[in-house]
């Protein structure tokens, strides 16, 4: 007997806004969150383009001991989780009496690590790093800090799966609850946004250099795309069993019905159509749905020539006959990397709630593969009952999630 798994809370902190309302407005308006960080040029970056994400002000909200262990991405995750728990009606007194877990996607804490090593090299004394450094530097900085701050007593670890980290965190949370191992899990993804984090990625010439038009630089599926734009923040979703949500009187926002995953078993950075198709089909099979049941696909498409081409082919192979609406919200956000798989579920949930599909901005001319897809160039009024979200990462890790409206 499997449990039904529902989403009861959402939270977001990123370049489209610092809460659900701001982000909904940006999505509907097709507003880009991309700008420039000129410091990156001084560091030798090819591209200074980046998602512009505000720094949360935590003094006055959290005490010193809680604050100093938070890395940049953990600060974003705290803000997103605070919002998600609030709208899931999970207050601290309830959380302390129940077994709430956390599975969060994160795959670097480069700024904290780099700054600590710089200090050691200069001071030649590790005791001058301060007590927060270790808790900021580990990949599990988000789960380690949030589990302490929110006094969580359930499952507690970080998922590191490159740009599919956030998506797999939701998929694994879904499985844990479905199989009855947990009732409530905080899932999500976080991504730091600073020059320490993206130098090696920039070094692969993977980033767009269209610096004269920052808001037009991220153009997934467009034939003139020249690379992705790094971005970040954090997105949180509260997953719980349907029974638990009903018992608590929590708002049931949607149901997670399908999780598909696969590994390409090939190149470390190149995409692979077969691996993506297997992930898509597995998600559909798990959900007990067919391609025609999907109303909207939030594509992984990052605006790289090879990656978008492979995904367009994979989507066409599975959905070619029914052609659901497709858009990549990365056209507005840039690539939120470890966060993207979670944030794109949040974006799609906001579209589902408000009956529209956000546009794939800057999609002006298709290439031969994207021409076969039904891409939303502009904001499209649309009732969404079921959507699918793709996330693919380096190493060939693929994840597809299917979310359904609860009627």
């Amino acid at each position: 007997m499997h449990n039904r798994v529902v989403i009861t809370g959402l939270g977001i902190w990123g370049c489209l806004g610092n809460n659900l309302d701001e982000v909904t407005e940006s999505l509907r308006a097709g507003k880009s969150g991309i700008g420039m960080d000129l410091e990156r040029k001084e560091w030798g970056y090819r591209s200074s383009l980046t998602g512009i994400v505000a720094k949360p002000e935590l003094k006055g909200i959290l005490d010193r001991r809680a604050r100093i262990g938070l890395s940049e991405e953990a600060e974003y995750a705290y803000m997103a989780t605070l919002e998600a728990m609030k709208n899931a009606k999970m207050d601290m007194s309830w959380v302390e009496k129940n077994e709430v877990g956390i599975l969060y996607g994160n795959d670097s804490s480069a700024k904290a690590v780099s700054e600590a090593i710089d200090t050691i090299r200069i001071k030649k004394d590790t005791t001058l790093l301060g007590s927060g450094s270790i808790f900021q530097s580990m990949n599990c900085t988000v789960t380690m800090n949030l589990s302490t701050i929110f006094k969580l007593k359930g499952i507690n670890f970080t998922i590191s799966a490159a740009c599919a980290s956030g998506s797999h965190s939701i998929g694994l949370g879904y499985l844990m609850i479905k199989w009855g191992l947990q009732k409530h899990i905080i899932c999500g993804g976080a991504q730091e946004v600073n020059p320490f984090a993206f130098g090696s990625f920039d070094g692969l010439s993977a980033f767009s250099i269209r610096e004269n038009e920052p808001t037009k630089a991220s153009r997934p599926f467009d034939k003139d795309r020249d690379g992705l734009i790094p971005s970040g923040g954090a997105a949180t979703l509260i997953l719980e069993s349907y029974e638990s949500a009903m018992e608590r009187g929590a708002p049931i926002l949607a149901e997670v019905v399908g999780y598909g995953f696969s590994s390409n078993g090939e190149h470390i950075s190149n995409s692979n159509v077969d691996g993506q198709v297997r992930s898509l089909n597995m998600a559909l099979k798990d959900a007990g749905l067919s391609a025609k049941d999907i109303d909207y696909i939030n594509a992984h498409a990052t605006s790289t020539p090879g990656g978008d081409l492979a995904e367009a082919k994979a989507i066409n192979e599975v959905f070619g006959e029914c052609k659901p609406l497709v858009s990549s919200t990365k056209s507005m956000t840039g690539h939120e990397c470890w966060m993207a798989g979670a944030s794109e579920i949040v974006y799609s949930m906001l579209m589902m709630k408000n009956n529209f599909v956000a546009p794939n901005i800057n999609f002006e001319n298709p290439d031969e593969a994207s021409a076969k897809l039904n891409i939303a160039k502009t904001t499209t009024e649309k009732n969404i009952d079921v959507f699918l979200s793709n996330s693919f990462g380096f190493g060939g890790t693929n994840s597809s999630l299917i979310i359904k409206k609860v009627k």
């Binding site: 005490d63 010193r64 001991r65 100093i68 004394d125 005791t127 001058l128 790093l129 301060g130 007590s131 927060g132």
Partner: protein, 85 residues
Amino acid sequence: MTQAEIIERINGFLVDEFEVDAEKINPDENLRETLGLDSLDYVDLVVIIESNFGFKVVAEDFINIHTFQNFYDYVGRKVAEKATA
């Protein structure tokens, strides 16, 4: 740096960084009890003293520091030693 300047700077970072209520800072009060320091806080105290006064505290030095006045005097001595070194 005068002793008054040292005291002002110490009280400043205790209020700003360690979020100690300024009204609780009194020369005769017990430092550890007033600040509610745990083992991790001592690590941060070492860092903040080094960045403010340019010398490194060794853990054993804290053994004889009980009150705020002990702390001010200790830092004053170390700053003077450094100036004459």
